[in-house]
C-alpha cells in the first residue's frame, strides 16, 4: 500500500511547512505533536495541525498525526484535535504493549462518531516494545502497521547509531516478522544522517530488500531516494503485468494452474505481482 512507502515527519508547529505538506512527494505526512514541538507550543501546534487537516488538507496524501505519549499530560488533547480534524491515522509513540493501543482505540471510539474510520499505527522505540512486537502487532482492529523508531531505541540500548545500522538489525527483524505474521505494514525507521544521500539510498534499498512496506523520513530531501528504493524496477513491473495478464486469461478460459516462463502461477505469485503494480503506481 502506497501509504507506507514514504512517511514524512513534519513539525506540527510550522505553518509554512504544513502548507506544503502535499507538495513534497511523500505518500504520507506525519504531522508531529510530539518531539518536534516544545512543551510551550503544544497547544498552538494542536490548533495548527487540526486546521491543516480541515482547511489545508493535502490531496492524495495520507495524513498521520503523531500524538504525545500516554505518559504525558498532552495525549488526550492531541487525540481530540486529530480526531475532530479527521486524521486518517494516529501514530502512537513509545508503544510497548497492546493495552496502550486499547486505550487510544477506546478514546477514539468514544470521542468520534466517525472514529471507526481512523486507523492506528504503533511507533515502537524501546527494547520492551521490540520484545512485545508480536503482541502489539496482533492487536487487530484499527491497527494497520508498526513503525520502528531507532533513535530512541538505540539511545535506550546504549548503542551507537551508524549509517550501516548493524545495531538495529535485530529490532528490524523482530518487528518485521511480527508485522508480517499479523498481516500489517512494517515501516522502517528514518535515516538520521540528513545529508548522507549515499548512505540513505543504501539504507532504503536494504529495508526494501528485507520486505519493509516503506520508510519514515525526517527530511523532505529524502523522499525521492526512498521512493526510488521502494519502487519496483521496470523489469519487475513488466513481469508483474505479465503475471496478472496470464492469470486473468487463465481465469477467463476456465483453466486452473497455468505457468509463465516455466514458473507456476499460483496465489502467492499473483499477490506479489499485484503488490508490485500497486507500488509502481
Amino acid at each position: 500500500m502506497k501509504t507506507f512507502r514514504t512517511m514524512l515527519f513534519m513539525p506540527g508547529n510550522n505553518p509554512g511547512m504544513l502548507a506544503s505538506a502535499g507538495n513534497l512527494g511523500a505518500d504520507s505526512v506525519i504531522l508531529d505533536l510530539e518531539d518536534a514541538v516544545a512543551p510551550g507550543e503544544k497547544d498552538a501546534a494542536r490548533i495548527l495541525v487540526r486546521r491543516t487537516l480541515t482547511d489545508l488538507r493535502p490531496e492524495n496524501v495520507t495524513c498521520v498525526v503523531r500524538i504525545n505519549g500516554l505518559d504525558t499530560p498532552y495525549w488526550r488533547d492531541d487525540l481530540a484535535a486529530a480526531v475532530t480534524g479527521g486524521t486518517d491515522v494516529i501514530l502512537l509513540p513509545k508503544c510497548e504493549h497492546p493495552d496502550m493501543l486499547r486505550e487510544i482505540a477506546d478514546f477514539i471510539g468514544t470521542s468520534s462518531r466517525n472514529g471507526g474510520a481512523i486507523k492506528i499505527m504503533a511507533l515502537v522505540e524501546s527494547a520492551l516494545g521490540i520484545e512485545n512486537a508480536s503482541a502489539i502487532a496482533s492487536f487487530g482492529g484499527p491497527l494497520i502497521g508498526m513503525l520502528l523508531g531507532a533513535e530512541d531505541l538505540t539511545a535506550g540500548m546504549g548503542a551507537k547509531r551508524t549509517p550501516e545500522g548493524d545495531e538495529i538489525a535485530y529490532a528490524r527483524g523482530r518487528m518485521l516478522m511480527a508485522c508480517k505474521a499479523a498481516g500489517i505494514a512494517a515501516v522502517d525507521t528514518p535515516f538520521p544522517f540528513v545529508t548522507d544521500m549515499e548512505g540513505l539510498a543504501k539504507d532504503a534499498a536494504y529495508a526494501a530488500q528485507l520486505g519493509f512496506s516503506g520508510k519514515a523520513l525526517i527530511s523532505p530531501h529524502h523522499v525521492h531516494a526512498v521512493k526510488t528504493a521502494f519502487m519496483p524496477t521496470a523489469e519487475q513491473i513488466a513481469w508483474a503485468s505479465r503475471v496478472i495478464e496470464t492469470a486473468e486469461a487463465a481465469e477467463r478460459d476456465g483453466k486452473g494452474a497455468v505457468s509463465l516462463d516455466g514458473m507456476m502461477i499460483d496465489l502467492p505469485i499473483i499477490k506479489r505481482a499485484k503488490s508490485v503494480l500497486q507500488m509502481a503506481e
Binding site: A19, S20, N23, H221, H224
Partner: protein
Amino acid sequence: MNHKFLPDVATALREAGLADNMTLSFHHHMRNGDYVANMVLEAAAQLGVKGLTIAMSSLFPVHEAMIPHIKSGVIAAIDTDYMSGPLAAAISRGVLEKPVMFRSHGGRPRAIGEGSLKIDIAVVAAPCVDAYGNINGVQGPSACGSLGYILPDVEHAAKVVAVTDFVSDEALRHISIPHNRVDHVVCVDRIGDPTGIVSGSISMTRDPLALAIARNAQAVIRASGLLRDGFNYQTGAGGASLAASTFLRDDMRKLGLKGGFLLGGITKYMVEMIEEGLFESIFDVQCFDLSSVRSIRDNAAHQEISADTYANPKQKSCCVDFLDAVLLGASEVDLEFNVNVLTDSNGVIIGGSGGHNDAAAGADLTIIVAPLVRARLPIVVERCTTITTPGKDVDVLVTEQGIAVNPRRTDLIDRLKAAGLPVCTIEELREKALRITGKPRPMEKGDRVVGLVEYRDGTIVDKVYAV
C-alpha cells in the same frame, strides 16, 4: 604613449564629444558590483551636461547613485532591460519625468541596429585592455567573462570609451572588442567590486518546494519528446531553474544523450555539463559565477556571443530561435498565460524582461516555474499587473501543486497526461491558490505612466504606472 589612453573619465568624455541630451550606453556584466556607470555619470555631472539618456542593459541596487543625477537634470531618460533596487523603487514613485523604456535583451540590440536607440557614447567596463585598446572580459582583477551585452553598442555607437583597471603588457589573444572600435581608454583604480560582479559560487537550493517544482519541470521536458541528441536548452540561475538543470543532467546521463548548446546567463552547473560532454557548447552573453569566467577563458566550446546573436529578432538568425526548451521565472502569470517579470503585486518595479520574452518566443517549449503562492499571494492572477511576455509565447506553468498547459498546446497536454503528470487548467491552479490565500483586493494603479514595456519586436505591449 598611445593617444587612446587618457588620464581620467572627464577628459575621455570631453574628447568623445559629450554634450547635452546625448545618449550614453552601459552594460551590466559587473552587475551589482559595477563602479563604472556611477563614475562616468559623476564626471558628466561635473562637466555640467544635462538631459542625458542612460541606455544600460540592466540596472542594479548599486545604481541608486543615479537618483541625484535624475533630480538635478543630468539624467533625463533611461532605456533598459531590467532594473532592481532603490533606483527602480524611485522610478516607480515617479522620480523621472519621462517614462523609462523597458526593452528585452533581444529588443535592445534590435533598437540599436535599426537606429531607434541611437548611442552617442558607449562606455565599456573593460576588465582587460592591451596597448592597442583591444578588450576582453576574461583577464584582470575584475574579470567578468562575457561582454556580450555591450557588443551591439560598440558596433553602432558614434564613440566608444573603455574604462579599465587592468592593462595587459602583452597584446591580447582573447579579444572581445577589437581596438578599431575603441576611441578612448581610461585607467582607474577599480571598475568594480568582484564580489558583486559575480558571486564566487551560486549554490544549489535545498528548498524542498523549489526542488519539487524543478522535478516537475524536468518531468515536463522529458515528457515533451524534445529531449534527444542535439537538445538546446536555456535556464536561469534562480532556485528552481538551477535545480532543474541538475535533474536534466541526470536524465541526459541516464539516456546517454548529447545536447547541442546551453544558452543565457552561465553558471558552473552548465560548465560542468559541457566538461562532462553532455552538451556540445555554451553560448554565453553573461557569466554568473567565477567558474564560468574561467571556462569561457579556457574552453573553446564555451563561446562568447553578443546580445545580437543571442536574441535580436531582426538579425538574420539568433540563438533563441534554436532553443528546444527554456525555463523562466515569473512574478505573476495570468489566466491567458501572460507573464509579468517587471513589477511586483503592488506595481513596484522589481525587474524587467531581460531575455525572458526573447527566449520564450524562440523556444519550442517555454516553461514558467513558480511557486503557487508567494508571500501570501497567488502567483496566478486574473490579469498581470504588467505584461512582459505575452501568453502566446508561453507553453506551460509548472508549480509545486500542479502543471497548467496553455490550451493551444493540445499536443503537449496529451503528452504530459500520458506521462502521468499532474496536469490541470490554469483556472484550477488559481482556484487552488485562492483557497489558501483568499482573494486579494485589487491594486489601484496610479495615473502617471513611469515606464513603457516594449516587446522584442518593437511593439509597446504595456505601460508601468506610478505607485
